[in-house]
Protein backbone atom coordinates (compact mmCIF):
# COMPACT_ATOMS: atom_id res chain seq x y z
CA UNK A 1 0.00 0.00 0.00
CA UNK A 2 2.85 2.39 0.86
CA UNK A 3 4.40 1.95 -2.59
CA UNK A 4 1.04 2.21 -4.36
CA UNK A 5 0.17 5.44 -2.53
CA UNK A 6 3.66 6.81 -3.12
CA UNK A 7 3.13 6.49 -6.88
CA UNK A 8 0.03 8.68 -6.85
CA UNK A 9 0.25 12.13 -8.34
CA UNK A 10 1.30 14.86 -5.91
CA UNK A 11 2.50 12.51 -3.16
CA UNK A 12 5.87 13.28 -1.62
CA UNK A 13 6.00 10.70 1.18
CA UNK A 14 3.84 8.07 2.87
CA UNK A 15 4.16 6.77 6.42
CA UNK A 16 2.20 3.69 7.45
CA UNK A 17 1.73 2.64 11.05
CA UNK A 18 0.61 -0.98 11.26
CA UNK A 19 -0.10 -0.76 15.00
CA UNK A 20 -2.88 1.79 14.86
CA UNK A 21 -3.81 1.55 11.16
CA UNK A 22 -2.72 5.12 10.47
CA UNK A 23 -1.49 6.34 7.11
CA UNK A 24 0.16 9.76 6.86
CA UNK A 25 0.54 11.30 3.43
CA UNK A 26 2.69 14.36 2.86
CA UNK A 27 1.94 16.12 -0.44
CA UNK A 28 4.58 17.64 -2.67
CA UNK A 29 5.49 21.31 -2.22
CA UNK A 30 2.73 22.61 -4.52
CA UNK A 31 0.04 20.75 -2.52
CA UNK A 32 -1.71 19.55 -5.68
CA UNK A 33 -2.98 16.22 -4.49
CA UNK A 34 -6.32 14.54 -5.02
CA UNK A 35 -7.73 12.97 -1.81
CA UNK A 36 -10.31 11.06 -3.87
CA UNK A 37 -7.52 9.42 -5.84
CA UNK A 38 -5.75 8.42 -2.60
CA UNK A 39 -9.00 6.97 -1.31
CA UNK A 40 -9.25 4.85 -4.45
CA UNK A 41 -5.59 3.81 -4.22
CA UNK A 42 -6.08 2.59 -0.63
CA UNK A 43 -9.08 0.52 -1.73
CA UNK A 44 -7.06 -0.98 -4.60
CA UNK A 45 -4.45 -2.05 -2.04
CA UNK A 46 -7.02 -4.32 -0.42
CA UNK A 47 -7.90 -2.25 2.63
CA UNK A 48 -10.55 0.39 3.24
CA UNK A 49 -10.52 3.91 4.59
CA UNK A 50 -12.37 4.35 7.86
CA UNK A 51 -11.53 8.02 8.19
CA UNK A 52 -9.71 10.65 6.20
CA UNK A 53 -8.55 13.90 7.77
CA UNK A 54 -6.85 16.75 6.00
CA UNK A 55 -4.85 19.83 6.91
CA UNK A 56 -5.51 22.41 4.25
CA UNK A 57 -4.82 26.02 3.56
CA UNK A 58 -7.23 28.01 1.44
CA UNK A 59 -9.92 30.63 1.07
CA UNK A 60 -13.61 30.42 1.88
CA UNK A 61 -15.85 31.07 -1.12
CA UNK A 62 -19.55 30.80 -1.85
CA UNK A 63 -20.36 27.87 -4.08
CA UNK A 64 -23.02 27.75 -6.77
CA UNK A 65 -25.62 26.03 -4.59
CA UNK A 66 -25.72 28.72 -1.91
CA UNK A 67 -23.34 26.84 0.38
CA UNK A 68 -19.71 27.47 1.11
CA UNK A 69 -16.51 25.87 -0.12
CA UNK A 70 -12.81 25.98 0.68
CA UNK A 71 -10.67 26.79 -2.37
CA UNK A 72 -7.36 25.01 -1.81
CA UNK A 73 -5.86 25.50 -5.26
CA UNK A 74 -7.15 27.49 -8.23
CA UNK A 75 -8.89 24.36 -9.55
CA UNK A 76 -9.59 22.36 -6.42
CA UNK A 77 -12.20 23.11 -3.80
CA UNK A 78 -14.19 21.20 -1.22
CA UNK A 79 -17.75 21.93 -0.22
CA UNK A 80 -17.92 22.77 3.48
CA UNK A 81 -20.31 20.79 5.66
CA UNK A 82 -22.21 23.11 7.95
CA UNK A 83 -21.32 22.96 11.63
CA UNK A 84 -20.56 25.43 14.43
CA UNK A 85 -17.01 26.03 13.18
CA UNK A 86 -18.04 26.60 9.57
CA UNK A 87 -20.69 29.15 10.59
CA UNK A 88 -17.94 31.35 12.00
CA UNK A 89 -16.13 31.19 8.67
CA UNK A 90 -19.06 32.23 6.48
CA UNK A 91 -18.20 35.90 6.97
CA UNK A 92 -14.84 35.26 5.28
CA UNK A 93 -16.45 34.23 1.98
CA UNK A 94 -15.14 36.31 -0.87
CA UNK A 95 -12.48 37.97 1.29
CA UNK A 96 -8.74 37.60 0.83
CA UNK A 97 -8.28 35.94 4.24
CA UNK A 98 -6.42 32.64 3.96
CA UNK A 99 -7.12 30.05 6.63
CA UNK A 100 -5.46 26.82 7.69
CA UNK A 101 -7.99 24.24 8.81
CA UNK A 102 -8.02 20.68 10.03
CA UNK A 103 -11.03 18.85 8.73
CA UNK A 104 -12.56 15.52 7.93
CA UNK A 105 -13.19 14.54 4.30
CA UNK A 106 -14.55 11.07 4.98
CA UNK A 107 -15.79 8.90 7.80
CA UNK A 108 -17.07 5.40 7.17
CA UNK A 109 -20.71 5.07 8.22
CA UNK A 110 -21.10 2.86 11.29
CA UNK A 111 -21.78 -0.79 10.57
CA UNK A 112 -21.00 -0.56 6.87
CA UNK A 113 -18.74 -3.16 5.31
CA UNK A 114 -15.90 -2.41 2.90
CA UNK A 115 -17.23 -0.03 0.30
CA UNK A 116 -15.94 0.73 -3.16
CA UNK A 117 -15.12 4.44 -3.22
CA UNK A 118 -17.19 6.67 -5.46
CA UNK A 119 -14.67 9.28 -6.56
CA UNK A 120 -17.13 10.90 -8.94
CA UNK A 121 -18.99 12.33 -5.94
CA UNK A 122 -17.35 15.48 -4.57
CA UNK A 123 -15.86 15.11 -1.10
CA UNK A 124 -17.26 17.40 1.56
CA UNK A 125 -15.09 18.93 4.23
CA UNK A 126 -16.24 18.91 7.84
CA UNK A 127 -14.09 21.56 9.46
CA UNK A 128 -12.95 20.44 12.91
CA UNK A 129 -10.58 23.27 13.79
CA UNK A 130 -9.28 26.54 12.38
CA UNK A 131 -5.57 26.60 13.11
CA UNK A 132 -4.65 29.93 11.59
CA UNK A 133 -6.09 32.99 9.82
CA UNK A 134 -3.81 35.06 7.60
Amino acid sequence: MKQHLGRQSGVQSVEVSLNDGKVDVTPKEDGRIDPGQLFKAVYESGVSVAEMDVLARGKVVKDGSGGFALDVTPNQSFGIEANDVSKELEALAGQSTVIIVRGQLYKKPAGKKRQKPDISAPMKLLILEVQKRE
Binding site: K22, I33, V47, L55, R57, D71, P74
Partner: protein, 42 residues
Protein backbone atom coordinates in the same frame (compact mmCIF):
# COMPACT_ATOMS: atom_id res chain seq x y z
CA UNK B 1 16.44 59.03 -22.28
CA UNK B 2 17.67 57.26 -19.14
CA UNK B 3 14.86 58.93 -17.15
CA UNK B 4 12.24 57.42 -19.51
CA UNK B 5 13.81 53.97 -19.05
CA UNK B 6 13.70 54.41 -15.29
CA UNK B 7 10.01 55.32 -15.46
CA UNK B 8 9.20 52.17 -17.44
CA UNK B 9 10.99 50.01 -14.92
CA UNK B 10 9.09 51.59 -12.06
CA UNK B 11 5.79 50.89 -13.86
CA UNK B 12 6.77 47.28 -14.48
CA UNK B 13 7.84 46.86 -10.88
CA UNK B 14 4.55 48.31 -9.60
CA UNK B 15 2.59 45.97 -11.89
CA UNK B 16 4.56 42.94 -10.70
CA UNK B 17 4.05 43.92 -7.06
CA UNK B 18 0.30 44.29 -7.68
CA UNK B 19 0.10 40.88 -9.36
CA UNK B 20 2.11 39.32 -6.54
CA UNK B 21 -0.31 40.70 -3.94
CA UNK B 22 -3.32 39.45 -5.89
CA UNK B 23 -2.03 35.98 -6.75
CA UNK B 24 0.13 35.30 -3.71
CA UNK B 25 -2.52 34.02 -1.27
CA UNK B 26 -4.11 31.76 -3.91
CA UNK B 27 -0.83 30.23 -5.01
CA UNK B 28 -0.01 29.50 -1.36
CA UNK B 29 -3.32 27.69 -0.89
CA UNK B 30 -2.82 23.96 -0.71
CA UNK B 31 -3.35 20.66 1.02
CA UNK B 32 -0.59 20.39 3.59
CA UNK B 33 -1.20 16.96 5.05
CA UNK B 34 -3.55 13.98 4.78
CA UNK B 35 -4.09 11.44 7.52
CA UNK B 36 -6.11 8.26 7.05
CA UNK B 37 -7.23 5.55 9.39
CA UNK B 38 -7.56 2.32 7.46
CA UNK B 39 -9.14 -1.04 8.21
CA UNK B 40 -8.14 -4.51 7.05
CA UNK B 41 -4.40 -3.91 7.13
CA UNK B 42 -2.30 -6.86 8.36
Amino acid sequence: MSQKGGMMNAKKFALLALLGCALGPVSQAQIKHIEMRVEGMT
